[in-house]
Symmetry: C2
Subunit: 449 residues, 2 copies
């Protein structure tokens, strides 16, 4: 009944009445791991560390039934007598949220932190800037969020045939907002990894400070790859060093994203110099796999292998740490089925089962994996729920649970135990048999591959 599936779960006879009291001890064991025992004598946890204790409590919550996931949880519940032994398979169990294409208000972002915690995921990679919007408040360069923080309209559907949404879109997080998100996530053992994307995907910044760009232009209202990129001159590099100074001030985590993807005319030096600067400031640069092409990168750079897994293997050979996130397996904005009512179907078909079957290459050598949620076509929290769930539940099991997978058992456990939890949480997931009528978007064109 637990999801992600623990290392072992042995059910005993009967149930106990549980009032929330858990006896916790620290023991030596695998990082983030725990043992849990539910007997008529009570609930005991042996945890390796704070994270292990936190995950044990998440498991107890799952054992308590769906009502435990409501904002007013029952005071006393029935817990099955059982023994659980558990620890995660990967250290990096991530989700990327693109809050640049569509802004996710702070309270919705905090809700996603909660949803990650329920799934024992521990990295929230925030894609904070893109051609279509800049979401990070800059005290030094306020035009970045004031001008770059909004656009007058957005493509509604695929760029090749979609019309326009007919409304402006914008928003940004204050630095205090993001400090709050970092603190809230830390309490749930989740690290927030910020990303400021350079030198491509920078049109919003260029709209705010035209001197940064090879060409000028406004915040982009279209999707796709924008040919305009940042200039690779000294003053632009210096500008971004100051932006990253502000970013480092807000995000204490070691790993900091610099993007580096899809910059058709990008000068590799730009990425290298920002990467060197992050290293110099004691952090680990984190880039999409294109950065492998810009020449030697600082040691301890982390590579997100998204165009497949070959880049990740290359990165490993070069001594980098790697997070696998191959688009054909874990891009959760891609269509969930060939169902005719699938809303704005883009990318390749990536079913729940496809995500569940994903097995990271070089599993014993990568940091882990992450699922990516790009939001060109996810323009509200409700659309995000639909795309993310229940596929993210399957992904959580891929990165947490032992490798042996039983798809039929997973689907049964999901339907019988986990979807009711998501219902209680108010997650508007995609039903297993296809979208609800109001989750469809008939007539809004996608571009299925």
């Amino acid at each position: 009944m637990i999801l992600p599936r623990p290392v072992s779960f042995t059910r005993g006879d009967g149930e106990i009445s549980f009032d929330g009291t858990v006896h916790v001890e620290r023991v030596t064991g695998p990082a983030e791991g725990y043992r849990l025992s539910v007997t008529p004598d009570g609930v005991r946890v042996w945890a390796s560390d704070d994270a292990g204790e936190f995950y044990a409590r998440q498991t107890v919550r799952q054992l308590s039934g769906p009502a435990a996931f409501r904002s007013v949880a029952p005071v006393r519940v029935a817990l099955p007598v059982c023994e659980v032994e558990d620890h995660p398979r990967f250290a990096w169990r991530g989700v990327m949220l693109d809050v640049a294409r569509h802004f996710l208000p702070k309270h919705d972002l905090l809700r996603y932190v909660d949803l990650l915690a329920v799934h024992k995921l521990n990295v929230l990679h925030l894609h904070l800037t893109d051609d279509q919007g800049w979401r990070f408040e800059s005290l030094k360069f306020p035009r970045l969020h004031e001008i770059g923080g909004w656009r007058p309209d957005s493509r509604f559907g695929d760029r090749r045939s979609g019309g326009m949404a007919g409304r402006p879109h914008g928003g940004y997080y204050t630095q205090d907002d993001l400090r709050e998100v970092v603190a809230y996530a830390a309490l749930r053992h989740i690290t927030v990894v910020p990303e400021i994307d350079v030198p491509g995907h920078s049109q919003a910044a260029i709209a705010a400070y035209p001197e940064l760009g090879v060409s000028g232009g406004e915040v982009w209202t279209d999707w796709g790859i924008n040919p305009n990129v940042l200039k690779a001159d000294e003053s632009t590099v210096d500008f971004y060093r100051q932006v990253f100074d502000e970013v480092l001030d807000v995000f204490p985590g070691e790993v900091v994203g610099l993007g580096g993807d899809e910059a058709e005319a990008g000068d590799g030096r730009f990425v290298r110099r920002i990467a060197q600067y992050l290293r110099q400031r004691g952090r680990r640069p984190f880039g999409w796999d294109e950065v492998l092409g810009v020449g030697p990168l600082p040691s301890r750079t982390v590579i997100a292998s998204w165009r497949g897994e070959d880049a990740g293997l290359t990165a490993l050979e070069r001594g980098h740490d790697v997070v696998m996130c191959p688009e054909k397996h874990v891009y959760l904005d891609y269509r969930q089925s060939d169902h005719p009512a699938e809303p704005i179907p883009v990318g390749t078909v990536t079913t729940l089962e496809d995500v569940y079957r994903y097995e990271p290459a070089a599993a014993d050598r990568v940091l882990g994996a992450q699922a990516n949620l790009w939001t060109e076509h996810l323009d509200s929290p409700r659309r995000l729920d639909y795309a993310a769930f229940p596929r993210l539940s399957a992904f959580a099991e891929v990165v947490w649970s032992p490798v042996a997978r039983d798809e039929a058992e997973f689907l049964t456990r999901l339907a019988e135990h986990h979807l009711p939890r998501l219902d209680a949480l108010g997650v508007e997931y995609r039903p297993l048999d296809g979208p609800r009528p109001w989750q469809a978007l008939p007539g809004v064109p996608g571009f299925p591959r």
Copy 2:
């Protein structure tokens, strides 16, 4: 610095360091009232009842500074040395949310409960059904939420000249969801008043069960007054008795709404019989002021006077309890200014100052007042935030604070102390000088009166 303004607030010298410890005593005093004393000896509260204690804690939170409104609040803050004496002016301090025209997901609804609590408001009137959608799960008549719970499209802007949004819209609350909202609200001393609107505004129900209607038809995709109404025959009355049975099972509050507004061809008997049924079940019927025209109503019926206040005065003469909510003063979907960028400007201009100046007629005889948020043109939580705030903050002061008002002082207190709290809460209110560029909706037609 406190909003709504307390009965008295006397600032002493200096500040104390506060770790959250409050000493509370019960004393005899006005309902929902409290006294609060912050001295170097600590924080003491004398409360008349649980609600009074709750409001004292809300005041302490406000004295703690904006960061206390973040999800990870500071452990220790500076509190000004002060004495507060406080109790509300009205017993009914309400907000109506129309979750029928646009569905508000459960977690967003819970967030609104929190926002009401911050403002010491204590009634959440949920308009659960209308022509455009049925949001209450019915176990007996599931087509109500399954069919009535969504529509294929919506007018985007005013009905006279607006185009269509180009997307389906839907959603409903399960009974468990609503029980959760009721329990969550109760912990914050907020009563949830459900409304099932009859015999007009019923097209969603008629689409689900065509035999209920004078004519048939689908869930409405337009705004305005739909001429189709419920049949006044015995079987329809009986159907709705069963629907209300389910409603009463979920909502324990005494007051239960039956709508009764804008039914052009409605048979008054229908309203009377439902009202009698609610009375028979031990509840108090609550209707819009049109119900005064249907003939004698049961004793203890509560009237919402919305087309002005004359109906409220008439209702008082007839011995009914009254909640004032005149559209020209407290309809928060009406445009906030004549600013050219005001999004979808409808209704009369209702500025922040207009709301602040509102003084309910027969103030010593009415239960209180409520602000109404109709959502034809508020199609997302972000749009709702914009319409509701900061006007709802002004309204909170109208219904809580002593009658003497100093507009300049209020505006200063709002800007210096309260808007930073709303910022910390992530409320996307309308800035005092007009909408942010992404809050405007250029080209989407309104219908200013």
